[in-house]
Symmetry: C2
Subunit: 317 residues, 2 copies
Amino acid sequence: MQLSQLKKNEIRVFAPASVANVGCGFDIFGFALHVPGDEVYLKITDNPGIKINAISGDDNRLPKDAKLNTAGVSLQAMMEFLQTDFGVEIEIHKKMPIGSGLGSSAASSVASVYALNEMLTEPLEKRQLLEFAIAGEKITSGDSIHLDNIAACLYGGFILVRSKQPVDIVRIPTPDGLHCVVLHPQIEIKTEASRKLLRKQITLEQAVIQWGNVAGTVTALFRSDFELLKRSLDDVVVVPDRAELIPKYYQIYEAAMSAGAIGCSISGSGPSVFALSPDETLARKIGQAMADVLDGLDIGSDLYISAINNDGPKVIQ
Amino acid sequence: MQLSQLKKNEIRVFAPASVANVGCGFDIFGFALHVPGDEVYLKITDNPGIKINAISGDDNRLPKDAKLNTAGVSLQAMMEFLQTDFGVEIEIHKKMPIGSGLGSSAASSVASVYALNEMLTEPLEKRQLLEFAIAGEKITSGDSIHLDNIAACLYGGFILVRSKQPVDIVRIPTPDGLHCVVLHPQIEIKTEASRKLLRKQITLEQAVIQWGNVAGTVTALFRSDFELLKRSLDDVVVVPDRAELIPKYYQIYEAAMSAGAIGCSISGSGPSVFALSPDETLARKIGQAMADVLDGLDIGSDLYISAINNDGPKVIQ
C-alpha cells in the first residue's frame, strides 16, 4: 500500500475503557464505557516503520519501543497486512489508569489500528482490525489471551465472545438507561498475576450455576429485565479467589447493592470494581457509596460513571 | 379443601414430552414437544387418598403403589398442600417411551397435578404446581434433582432453569418454524446410571467454552439467528462421556448435520437423540437420515417430529 491510498496524513482517535467478565461471564462478556479511555495521535511519514514519539499519562511505565508496546505491535501487524511502503509516528495519551482491569492496553491497541484504518480510502472491517489488536494483546497476556476487552473496545456496546478459536464476537443489546459505575482503587494488579490465581478445574455443580446465570444475564439484557439481571450477574467461579486482591472488596460490593445497584463485581482482573445501575442519578449515588468504603484507607481512587458506549472508538479533533 | 370447591369431578389431561439439556445447556435448558406425551385421567372420590386404577403403555414397569409412583407422589404433595378431604383415582396412559430421555416421569407428574388444578375453582399458579412435581421427581432422581424436564413440560416453550435453589424458571422465545426431530433408539438408559457417568470436575477452559455457547444459544433464540444457533449448540462437557451409551451416536449426529440440522445432541440423559430444524419439511428429511443410521442394527426405534410446544399441558376430551 502506498501513501496515495490514504485520505489523510494525521488523525486523533479516542478508544474507550471496557469492563470485562461482567460478573458471571468470565472471559466471554465485556462492554465499553464512554469514560475513561485513551487518545492516540497518528501521523504518516515517508520513513517505513513505527516510531512512538510520546506517551503521556503512564508515569513512564510503558515501553516506547514499538516492538514491545501493545499499540506498536498491533499497528505493525496491520501494516504488514497492508504491505505499507510508508511509516507512522504515534503519540499515546493514556487517559485511564494502567493495570486497572479496564482494558488499558486494549484501548491503546484499538485506538491505533482504528486510527490507521480511518485514514484508508478502502477501510478494513472491524473483524480484521480485531486480529491486529489480538497480536498486540499477546505480548502482555501470552497464550492466555482473552478477547473481551479488545472486542468491547473495538465494537462498542455489550459483546459476547462466543468463541476464541475460531473468533466469534456477538453483540448483545443493553437496556436503555443502563449505567455503569467504576471504582478504581489505586493499586495495581497485573493481569498475568491475577490469572495465576485462577483454578484450573471447577466443579460441574459450580459450572451449572454459572451457565444458568450466563443465560439469565443474556435473557435479562434482551428483555430489559433488571430484576432478572440482578439475580443473574453473580460469579461463583472467579470472584471468590480474586476478591482477596482488592481492598475491602466485599464491603464495596455490599455498599453498591445496598445503594440500589443491579449488580456489582470485579472489572476484568481488577482492582477496579464495577456496578450497574438502571439510571445515571442512581449511578452517582451508588458510586459515592462505593467510594466511601475506601475512605480512611491510605489508597487513592478514581470513580467513573458512564452509560454503555455503543459506538466504540471515534475520531476526535 | 372440600369437594364443593371443585368445579368438576373428572378430567383428562395431556402433558408433553420434553427435550432437556439441549446441547450446551446441561441442567439448565429444556423445551416441550407436541408429540409424544402422556395422558392422565383423574376422578374425584369420597375416599381420601390416591388410588392408581390403571397404567397403560408401560409394559408393567411402573409401580401402581401411589407412594412409589412419581405421579402419585406429586399429587400427594399437592393434596397435602390443599388439605383435601376427598380422594382421587387416576389412570396413567403412557404414550411415550419410559427411560428415553424425554422426561417421561415429568410428563406423568405434571399431567396429574395440572389435572387436579384444572378442577379447582381457584387454581394455583404454575410456580406452585412445579413444587409438587419436584416432589415426585425426587423419588427417581434423589438429590440430583434436575428441573429442566418438569419446567419445560409444565410451562411449555423453551425454558431456562436459571437456578435450582431457589427455583428460578425463565421463558426464552424460539424462532418461528423451529422444529425438533427426536430419534429414540429402543434401549433404556436410567437417568441415575447416566448421571453417574458425569465428571465431578471440569476444566475452567471447558467451562468457558460451554458458557460462551450457552450465551450464544440464548442470543440466537432471541434473534432467530439459525447460523449462530448452529455455532453455539454443541456441548463439550457431558455429551462426550454419555455418547458411548448410545449406539452409533456420532453417525446419527453426522447424518443429522449433513441433512441440514441446526444442531444435534442427546436429549436429557439419552438414549433419545434430538436435532433442530428451521422448518417441518427439512425436519422430516433430517429424521429419515438419523433413523437410517440404525438400519440393520437389531434395535427398534421411534421417530418424532414436532414444533416447539409453547402451551405445555392441556385438557383433552
